[in-house]
Symmetry: D2
Subunit: 319 residues, 4 copies
């Protein structure tokens, strides 16, 4: 389904279920897609950080994207991450994603390299120029170690390079500045980039982002509780901000599952991805909760804590 | 005026006007205090980063605090920053602040040193133990290069060490977690630390922080437009979140004055402090816009841009 | 040529010359290899950061490695970088490198992801286990944003996972600790990992690293002046440390060419890579000095400065 | 004793022994000074990071400096740290240090604030201008979170602002560039700043720094084994670089005592300072090994490990 302009609503980054051999479990992935669509989400983002894209080989990336596109069957737009170090490597992924039927692309600034802001601008322009799909910038300093400035995003929005931004920088002040510079809550539609979509990736401040005029959210936790995020979205759309805040509070409590893994023994990243997958397994959505090698897996205690968090949040576990 | 529990509302960090010799201009400082109280603010925070505390000698700190306390005359509570590298140096400032009539203290984690979280906990406990004034933690990673974890703040809130938090970390997700862990919008009053005050120092996301249940805000930009922040606060209190968001948008546009100074020629910090002071001078509140040595001053072009920003925001310049 | 244990001497990271269309210029690359071998170097490292590996597509990486291996024809060992985000992606490169005739592999810790030290250990062990070539760890925090601890390197040296380390961390204290823990200048051969090779990537402290007992160096600047680094190496081997220091001083002056590009207009990384290539072009070794997209190219002024630096260092330019 | 130009040799940063009440133990401090002078050191640096300056009140700083100056009695030059956030606070310390008889001052770049390089230049110039003592810049990014560039240091050396540099940045490549830009091993005396003293604070690469032409070293570990560093210095002066490297290796092994404290339970900084003091106590030099509050103390296991390290290095413990 073509990407609307601006893309809006709940667009979860789709986890990539793996089997015990570490290969993409396509049956589980299809069930996960149905779980998300059943929750009412408005789009899907596959092959992002939450999808463990950095751990998947090119072949596995293709399998995951193909499975998502085919399962969705045009019901919502499917964005595909094209995550690699620099422009020409990104373009190789972009051409593959186009071939497999992605509706839009999501690219970060270059990483591993140290890149000047003007080089990053050239990077996005070249990708947009060479592959004819809407392009979303993925602002993810925790992974790429540079931040997209509001000024650069506005420039690339105004000239049509970017269809939108997924802001996972955690810098809500910067996000607010961008939204105001694009025209603010009421002026966006008549501003310098009317179809530009601003999505936050910060799952704990979605009510705030929507109040500030963001178009939607890409919540990792949305894998676990898509319906919750959809309720939050609907409350905000209807102007019931206290209801939105209340739903956000419930989701914030639930989010604590990302710390189930003991900090001394594993990274925060492995703990979060492991917890999302453990939750999906406990909810009966996917078969196996393994994360990709070399991530350290959650132990039984941590998995039990994930289960407790799910039940506290009112979700029904089946294992 | 004693600090209420929880302290709430608009509590600007008070700029420290200097004369051309670099000494505290007490007449201008008194006028600034009246400007803030006239705008309807609910408390004042002196000797914080916006007060250029790190540039003031002990003698100058005393002069500034004395001037603020005397001018306020008990109309609102006055918090005093006790900013220094470690505990015993902080205590020297705390005893002086108590003597000069401060109603509460604001301390950061140790800096210059590399400090373990358990050491930081001991630091706050010792300060609270030795000087009998409400103690607020100032979470300011950009200056002290460590972040107070929500868990640590909660622990120090629950045991009565801290009366509140000024969160200038820019990490709104972390702030949300803290608020939820303290009981959330509705549960705070019956939670583990009912009188604990959560104040955000992020001036561009105040509507969001209030929607999330924060008690108030310490906005540097509040020096320039205190009435604007008070309007934002009142809108939020009355539940008119769209009005709050609209006021926040106006203030966000105004905030761009902090970038008036050219980035290649001066630090972002000098530019922001210089712009606040230039604005106060253009508004007729203070006599001289100089920042403390060795900060590079704004040039005429930058000052003209500050003036334009003020007028765009509907404020009346007199110079 | 099989990698000796320990690999020692001057092992430059080979630049990847590109033509004006951005493709690998195999003729220039062959000439560069001969330039390096003619200078007396003891090995080559291709597809590292200096080779712009992060900018090359998989196809281009293959072309570059194949060209180097064929040109070398077994005269010295050829190490191949297998640079990618995580283990299974690295393994895809490793299998290709083995097929193309590399004599050893060079891998970093995972990047883009946030990785626990135990995960990094698993990463290196899996790569070593699956592809039967000597494996060198590439410690490059500036790109991968984590540092390999001396303890981890020692563990992986002692158990045979690693054949060596390329230390580009710039942390000479840490390097010294590792060398001492491995037995020190005199005890290395009878220490816990006798064949383990410690190479520094810090081109300005090679005399120091050799005095400390390092086995060799992987100097980016060695592309420009391989004979200079070989002289430094020979002086150190003969115990003439003052002569080594003097040669290091000349190379340090020459190294200033990496700052030829204006800092405001381009990143330090593009400036350094652009300067190495401009130098190689001025020396008549390669045809075209372009760096890979989206790097900003050096302008004529910068190139002229590179030329002046070359001549100051006693090198003969032909353009 | 007036500072020679350039100041050279072994100049340890003097630990500040505390009694069990946390006050400066002047008797132990005097014994420590004699221990250092007895080891043959060429100068002393008091009130630096190793002296726990950031933990000492102004009164305690005065006591420590006075004790050192009086004990030394002009036998070697005494440098005094004047560590505070910005210029005018530093000047207050500088005037006090001058009064107490310091022979030179050591100041860092501003900290807590974010400071532009031109502001840092102004900072050093103002301090030098207002207090007539030789001024040494203390490059300590781990504490002040900015790095002094070689270009800035060279500028301030050439115009007479700085008498020297204590480089604790750990960036040996940058140090080498500075030394070469100042004229190199042989050209320093006829270069742009002939009396300028370059001292490294990196205690594990002293042989390397001396080979590169540094004038001396300020080794924290020199508190524990001053005679070892003096032997290293003498070996280097006599051109016996292998002997220097061998002594450096012994000191590097000894240095591992800084990790005696368990990493999960205390910061690396507390562990290092605690280990130096525990060692001095075990060697019979000081009475009590306590570090300043709020640092977590070493436990008995850690202290036992310190003792073992001392004996392994050939030092005689008396407790």
């Amino acid at each position: 389904m073509p990407v609307t302009a601006p893309l809006s609503g709940i667009v979860p980054p789709v986890c990539t279920p793996l089997d015990s051999a570490g290969e993409v479990d396509t049956a589980s992935l299809s069930r996960l897609v149905e779980h998300l669509l059943g929750g009412g989400v408005h789009g899907l983002f596959t092959l992002g950080s939450t999808s463990e894209v950095a751990y998947l080989t090119d072949r596995q990336r293709g399998t995951a994207l193909k499975t998502v596109v085919e399962t969705v069957g045009g019901r919502v737009p499917v964005l595909a991450g094209v995550i690699d170090t620099t422009t020409h490597r990104v373009l190789d992924h972009a051409r593959e994603a186009e071939k497999l039927g992605a509706d839009g692309l999501v690219a970060t600034a270059p990483f591993y390299t140290r890149t000047h802001l003007r080089e990053t601008a050239g990077h996005f322009r070249r990708v947009r120029d060479r592959v004819d799909l809407p392009l979303f910038a993925y602002d993810l300093p925790v992974s790429v170690h540079s931040k997209l400035s509001p000024a650069l995003v506005r420039e690339l929005a105004a000239d049509g390079t970017l269809a939108g931004l997924k802001d996972s920088s955690g810098d809500e002040g910067s996000l607010r500045r961008l939204l105001v510079e694009l025209g603010g809550r009421e002026g966006r539609a008549t501003g310098c980039a009317p179809g530009f979509s601003v999505l936050t990736g910060s799952e704990l401040t979605v009510d705030a982002a929507l109040l500030a005029g963001a178009d939607g959210v890409v919540p990792g936790l949305g894998n676990v509780d898509p319906a919750g995020y959809v309720r939050l979205w609907e409350a905000a759309r209807s102007g019931d901000w206290l209801l939105a805040a209340k739903e956000q509070e419930r989701l914030t409590s639930l989010f604590a599952l990302v710390e189930a893994g003991p900090e001394a023994d594993m990274g925060r990243s492995s703990s979060a991805l492991g917890a999302f997958k453990a939750a999906l397994r406990l909810l009966g959505v996917i078969e196996c909760g393994d994360t990709a090698f070399p991530q350290i897996p959650l132990d039984a205690t941590a998995i039990a804590e994930v289960g407790a968090r799910l039940r506290d949040a009112g979700l029904t576990t089946v294992r």
